[in-house]
Amino acid sequence: MFRLLEESGFARVRSAVVPGFRFRKQSTQNSAEAYGVKAVMMTAEKPGG
């Protein structure tokens, strides 16, 4: 996503992990961890203005 934002013309792209995010079901959480799945916050700006 970070790269997609930059390639699409966004500037000042920032990201941070959402603290405390987890899946409710442990089995889903385990699968998510195996794939490195996480929730992130992203901000970016459209240049100009």
């Binding site: 996503m1 889903t28 794939y35 490195g36 996480k38 901000t43």
Partner: protein, 210 residues
């Protein structure tokens, strides 16, 4: 020599077919959350999720119960959106309206909030929830890959756990860029994966929708 035209055509056909199935799965999944907020899902939802992601209790106490109970986000995009009075905000995948309602409190009557959701029933619900708090969301049925909003008309795009549902994320990002005015910004929360998902997951719309 392999028939590249045929294989590309097959690929596009397969993707279109998966997208159609995925749309149905997304509609079913999030309608279920809205209709049965007491049910259990593999993700946290409702007030428990909003508390987990740091939504201030004064926001949640003020918002309509239906909007809070149907909340199915993965974070709080409003924390870093820095929405100002008078701004136009687009909530992509507005659902039952919680984020949009909070945004409308921040824009005030001189600003506006536009919701876009795949599900027209959720649009109606978001608008009703907003009206119940004395504010307004103008919600349009639509897809994030073709946002039904004019070029350069929005100051801020927010979304919460929505972009990851698309097969065409590059297109979604390009659309967000298109609707923003120069100097506009996005604040989104979403799910990302550090590893390539297995083909069995990619080809399973039920897993993708969740």
């Amino acid at each position: 020599m392999p028939d590249v035209t045929a294989s590309t055509s097959d690929l596009l056909e397969t993707q279109a077919s998966l997208e159609a199935v995925l749309k149905d799965e997304i509609l079913t999944m999030y309608q279920e959350v809205a209709d049965n907020p007491d049910a259990e899902f593999h993700f946290f939802h409702g007030r428990a999720a909003a508390d987990l992601f740091g939504y201030p209790s004064e926001w949640l106490d003020r918002a309509p119960e239906g909007a809070v109970n149907s909340f199915a986000g993965v974070g709080n995009p409003l924390l870093r959106a820095a929405i100002r009075e008078g701004e136009t905000v687009l909530d992509l995948g507005s659902g039952a309206g919680l984020d949009g309602i909070i945004a409308s409190w921040q824009t005030g009557p001189t600003g506006s909030v536009i919701g876009v959701d795949l599900n027209p029933a959720m649009c109606l619900r978001a608008q009703a929830h907003a009206a119940a708090t004395g504010t307004k969301i103008e919600c349009h049925e639509g897809r994030m890959e073709d946002i039904p909003v004019p070029d350069g008309s929005v100051d801020v795009v927010i979304s919460n756990g929505v972009v990851n549902l698309s097969f065409r994320k590059r297109r979604v990002v390009q659309e967000m860029h298109r609707v923003l005015r120069p100097g506009g910004r996005i604040s989104i929360t979403d799910i990302v994966s550090a590893k390539q998902l297995s083909q069995s997951i990619v080809n399973d719309p039920k897993l993708w929708a969740s």
